[in-house]
Subunit: 460 residues, 2 copies
């Protein structure tokens, strides 16, 4: 693993300078990466299209999202207050702020060749924090990865960025094991993420792994909402389940309703009419087919387009759902399972049994949610994001966004991989005690030369 | 492990309500715990004295510190802005804030029977966050633990607090393994902390462990400072090394200087004249003695008070220090090792070789630090707190404090166990998307009924 070692050493060497770069310079770099991606946008999108079978509008949108993310973090570090500077004058003078961790390993995702890959959110937030980044490209889109990597490499100082390729697992494992790597960002499967977590935890020096893994994104439909707009919800749900051939971590794989045959029939008709579509990779296609076959053995298959990427709909009663633990596993693709409960109490039983989720969605009629506070309290402990009267797919790039959730949705429910809080994953607080002014970072100097927001003697 | 299961179930039951309690109520409880500890202060301090052999002034100070911590977190949650509320209006309305994780297991420390034990910083910050707490009392001070536990149990709702006792490891291990426990706070040895980290990482649902473990708290003395005030530094260092029989995690166990026989002789005289003292437990006494014996086989023993808790001073040259990996291990007690370097470059070599530390201290004469920026850059990557012209013992209870540091000083260098940031350990961000106003927590309601500081559309 010569490449891994070389990249890790170069990153550590570069960190001494890059980790202390001011926000203005880091902001310039992030904006410059975005500009280069846009300048080469047509080639990048065409290349991604040929490698992933994703459509042009989707990929154009994803490129825009990627650049938005880079610019959001640029604005964050240019403004500068994100470091959370604190100053306590007193018997002893104590000042503290967030500082970057050091070199970060990032794993590109199969399903987002741009926004969660080489120049994606993990890379943007790690660079913004001041951490060099070594990306392990996803083998599903090596040429797209190389193009994105060129945009970064052209902008950042030597050693701050490296891109590694490997069809197997060796390079990734060596990266996570390398003593100079200080944190890991990953988007992918539960199996893959857990493997990296286990490697990181068993290092002589354990390091944090921020893995966004799987989720079945339950959608609860309360009885009155179901009666009042069941057909409309079926249409919205169908669009969300089949968006991008269902290859989103926020894909709604589980629907919880009271019994309503009209709703199921409407969804069934729409699912059955969904055109088949090429999936991202043969491995994903095969895993999806295996998931559909497995569900077929446990639940009632109501619709299935029997072709690559064909949509599927299953139904089951609440007791049978709770009896089959495997039905809570993610089937990555355009499939969803409707659990038909006999009463609202059944919804609660199922909610309690859920594992950690990226999202939970609730459809409720006007005022109806107030009659189901118990459900709300349960789902709040299960998810990173609670969506009302909408659909979980589509993760807005805004500061408040949380794209995280309790295990197994992510490795660490205390983090988010979207929104400006994502930068905090790659930092730690450092305090200076009775330090001479010349030694302090600008963020902590008495005169506040950067004009950032600080907590001084406990007050902002 | 019936007690563990019972406590974990009760905590989970109580969490549904306690986790949603407003800051005013939580603040009242924390203040009420402090008031009860003070009201029973004489009995608590006398009890701790008989169990720990720590002196009365030290224990009175520790009780005051414990109450200060409780009140600091009370003030934090009463003010309320700590949740980091964010609101983004836009195509979709996204609002997020920190929410408590759930039941937390806290392990009492041997060396702080009050401030880092039952009602200590981990408990205070977890309760402030809204997490029920189950404390495993340290077997070195069970009666003191019980008294502190009574003060908490009298105040918080049923199930929110439990205190468990065990002379061995079974109860603690069962706690960390219990599926309803969502995080762990620990202060103690590297061996103990790492064992809990490994258990937590291998759970079906891994949970975060915040373990403050060991540190040798290196003190660098730059040449001019050594010349100008070597005797004064020797006196200060001696006081810091022997404070509380050296039984502090911030004890300075390593001193790095250029060669100066006067300084070493001054320190030697003081160490040799230190009265012996009873240590916290027979196990700690025996481990200290074994550490001194081990160092004696590798370094030159310059002074040693041959009795329980007797102070010790060792010296060694830089090359020999770097050759003996075991000399970087913590010897818990009043012992320190001076590494005599031939030149300032030697200080850099040693600095580079250091593991993660809670603190690094630098003594520098006026302007001298500016000639050693390279040393400063290295120590910043090694420590949670950098002390200038002082001593590492004494951790101020102020919002800006960082009591943490890269592994093996702690399990997670991204956290601190002192200062108001400690509350963040026990929280995770949750987002509400397009939520009706009635469903939103007060912190996120459009009208801002709590009047807290929020980030709205990217601006505070």
């Amino acid at each position: 693993m010569n490449d891994v070692d070389r990249a890790a050493r170069a990153a550590t060497g570069a960190f001494a300078t890059f980790g202390r770069l001011n926000g203005r310079r880091k902001g310039e770099m992030l904006r410059s990466i975005a500009a280069r991606l846009e300048a080469n946008g047509d080639a990048i999108v065409q290349c991604a299209r040929s490698e992933t079978a994703l459509g042009l509008p989707r990929l154009q949108g994803e490129l825009a999202r990627t650049c938005n993310q880079l610019r959001m973090f640029a604005a964050l570090v240019e403004e500068g207050s994100w470091v959370g500077a604190r100053i306590d004058h007193g018997n002893v003078d104590v000042r503290s702020m967030l500082r970057p961790l050091g070199p970060v390993a990032v794993f590109g995702a199969s399903n987002f060749p741009l926004a969660f890959s080489v120049a994606g959110g993990d890379t943007a937030s790690a660079l913004a924090a001041g951490c060099p980044v070594i990306v392990k490209a996803h083998p599903a889109h090596p040429r797209t990865s190389a193009l994105a990597g060129e945009a970064i490499a052209a902008v950042v100082p030597e050693g701050v960025f490296a891109l590694l390729f490997d069809d197997g697992y060796e390079t990734g494992m060596a990266l996570v094991k390398h003593p100079l790597i200080k944190a890991v960002g990953f988007t992918g499967s539960l199996r893959g993420g857990r493997a990296l977590m286990d490697i990181a935890a068993s290092r002589p020096e354990p390091i944090p792994v921020f893995a966004e893994m799987g989720s079945i994104n339950p959608v609860f439909i309360l009885p009155r909402a179901l009666r009042e707009r069941g057909a409309e919800i079926a249409a919205g749900l169908h669009a969300s389940v089949t968006l991008g051939v269902g290859q989103f971590c926020t894909n709604p794989g589980l629907v919880l309703t009271t019994r309503d045959e009209n709703f199921v029939r409407e969804l069934e008709t729409r699912i059955a009419a969904t055109p088949a579509a090429t999936m991202l990779t043969p491995a994903i296609r095969d895993a999806y087919r295996a998931g559909v076959d497995s569900f077929t053995s446990m639940a009632r298959r109501r619709a299935f387009v029997d072709a690559e990427g064909g949509a599927a709909l299953f139904t089951i009663d609440a007791d049978s759902f709770l009896a089959h633990r495997e039905l809570r596993d993610e089937v990555f693709g355009p499939s969803t399972l409707v659990v038909e409960c006999d009463s609202p109490a059944g919804l609660i039983d199922v909610a309690r049994a859920l594992e950690g989720q990226l999202t939970v969605t609730i459809h409720a009629a006007e005022g109806e949610i107030d009659e189901h506070r118990d459900l709300l309290e349960i789902v709040e402990t299960k998810a990173g994001r609670i969506v009302f009267n909408g659909y979980p797919t589509g993760v807005e790039v805004v500061p408040a966004m949380v794209h995280g959730g309790p295990y197994p949705a992510t490795s660490d429910g205390r983090s988010t991989s979207v929104g400006t809080r994502a930068i905090e994953r790659f930092t730690r607080p450092v305090a200076w005690q009775n330090a001479p002014e010349t030694v302090l970072p600008d963020e902590l100097k008495e005169s506040n030369p950067l004009g950032i927001r600080r907590m001084v003697d406990g007050r902002i």
